[in-house]
Symmetry: C2
Subunit: 335 residues, 2 copies
């Protein structure tokens, strides 16, 4: 569990390419971001108050969030001393970089001495992982699945969880990727878990719960993805979803980064994920389609939604454009 709110650390970053994590946290948890910390020469600005570490602590911040993903996920040496000072000032640190915070002796020694937490969300550091059981658990679960990576599964899950919360339905967003973990302050980046333990890690992430409680589980990739499929299958097996929401981006023609691989159809994608989910829950059902229509005109967006409805026979909406009411209705319809 990461202590919130965050002070977002932008370092001396000079381009926007790697600021997705910070933007995601700001979009979904604006109340949990106290401000930003920038080194001289930083060319980024999230449009929130600049603070030094003492001011951030005074404003209630608990954790420095490294909001930048450099090429290669490498931490510049010149960030270490400022981050060490953040620990001295009373803050924990959370990072989604590949390199572990604890691999820097100055950070590890300072954190150990002061009892501060270093959260490397790309590396599991919680209780020992267990193998899955495949046994169905109490409580309801909806899992986002999709036609590809980076297609809107995290945003759909967060929108559904927010909508359920607004309706007073007991529900919890369950993060399965690094940015999701940083947004939620908890979760498991399942792609970094040893393959054997993925399903068990997901079982641990969304354990047995009240019969009326909904886990709204962030999706990853697709079981049909040419080299990430195994991450998705482990997620489906461990989640044991009662309902699936199929996520898609309007107009995406081929798998990201693979121009020769046409995207599978919505129905083929849905059928593949239903087949996988039936292994542990034969009663799983497809609830709705979430279409990312960002950048389209209202007319083109509506045409994309209508096409998704026609192909699948399911309700379809863009939860960012129209809110997640349609998705929540469909998920809850046949509890």
């Amino acid at each position: 569990m990461i202590a919130l709110p965050y002070l977002v650390f932008l370092g001396d970053a000079d381009r926007e390419v790697g600021v997705k994590t910070a933007q995601g946290v700001l979009y979904w948890r604006p109340d949990q971001v106290a401000g930003q910390f920038r080194l001289p020469g930083c060319e980024l600005d999230l449009g929130i108050p600049d603070m030094d570490f003492d001011a951030a602590v005074a404003a209630g911040a608990r954790t420095v969030l490294i909001g930048i993903a450099n090429r290669g996920g490498i931490m510049p040496e010149r960030w270490i001393e400022p981050l060490r000072q953040a620990l001295e000032a009373g803050l924990d640190i959370a990072s989604g970089l590949h390199q572990r915070l604890s691999s820097f002796p100055a950070l590890k020694e300072t954190a150990d001495r002061l009892g501060r937490q270093l959260h490397d969300v790309r590396h599991w550091s919680g209780p020992p992982l267990k193998l899955g059981t495949g046994e169905k658990r109490a409580g309801q679960r909806v899992l986002m699945v999709g036609t590809d990576c980076n297609i809107g599964k995290k945003y759909a899950a967060l929108a559904v969880a927010q909508e359920m919360c607004a309706r007073g339905i007991k529900s919890t967003f369950r993060a399965t990727g690094q940015t999701g973990v940083l947004i939620a302050g908890a979760g498991v980046a399942i792609d970094a878990v040893p393959a054997d333990f993925v399903s068990g890690a997901v079982e641990m992430l969304c354990p047995a719960n009240d019969p009326g409680h909904w886990d709204v589980i962030e999706g990853q990739a697709s079981v049909l993805h040419p080299f990430f499929g195994q991450v998705t299958l482990g997620l489906v097996l461990g989640a044991q979803p009662d309902a699936l929401v199929l996520c898609h981006e309007a107009g995406r023609a081929h798998i990201r980064g693979m121009p020769n691989r046409p995207l599978p159809s919505l129905t083929a994608t849905l059928e593949a994920h239903l087949a996988a989910a039936r292994i542990n829950n034969p009663a799983v059902r497809a609830a709705a389609v979430s279409v990312n229509t960002g950048g389209l005109t209202p007319e083109a967006a509506e045409a994309a939604l209508e096409a998704a409805r026609a192909e699948t026979g399911l309700p379809a909406t863009d939860p960012i454009r129209h809110g997640a009411g349609v998705l929540a209705d469909a998920i809850l319809a046949r509890r």
Copy 2:
């Protein structure tokens, strides 16, 4: 690459339950086992010469194989000093236990000082892992798939590779599990690889090769397994097999350790693995069925093979009982 032959280390083991690794190596690579090393009180005997470390080195042994898997995969402290002496005598050490050899300071320091290798085959320590590409590679590949774990996939693959070798066909057994790696002296225990990298690790394990060369790839679990399915899917995606051999154990009624889960049928298992393999190779074909008939009478074994033929329409044999000729013929039939 593990230097062979082995001296098999049995410690002071008092039961046979955990000797599978040693037995597998002895069965498949008898020429690569120089002898056994036993501590006082050891109740096991593999029926091969007892040797101390100096005698083993003189007999050509290069690596001590820890042939025992204790409950929990834990190394008793009393084994450390004898193992350290093995390093001093000139031997490397290979282990399939969970606990890393290098986590014992006495072993690590001695190995570092003398330039000896410590092989923890359950932990990847080769070149940095890469993500998969999903791109088809030159060369032919056959992958063992199965209805469950521990059903005969490793033995089938080793028998096929041996048969191809006897026929003068260029081929290589590719190990994907810890015992397979210890038998082959090389490979990747893919279940211990971070989920993201499983398909890429398998691509690295069986890289592009001569058009006529066959990789004979050890299988793992099943894509329909309730909590190990992700390991299998990553293997299928990375292997990009041209042919599948379906492995099954006659009479197994339910998934191992899950009495409430009936085993999927041969045809359902085959179809699920073909669907997964078609993601990266639409031309994949089912070649044959390998049935483990151990313990059955000849008549019952033939009935089990006939049932497999009738259900799948494919050739079927037990490669341990009858040799792998039928499997090799079927794999090579439509190159």
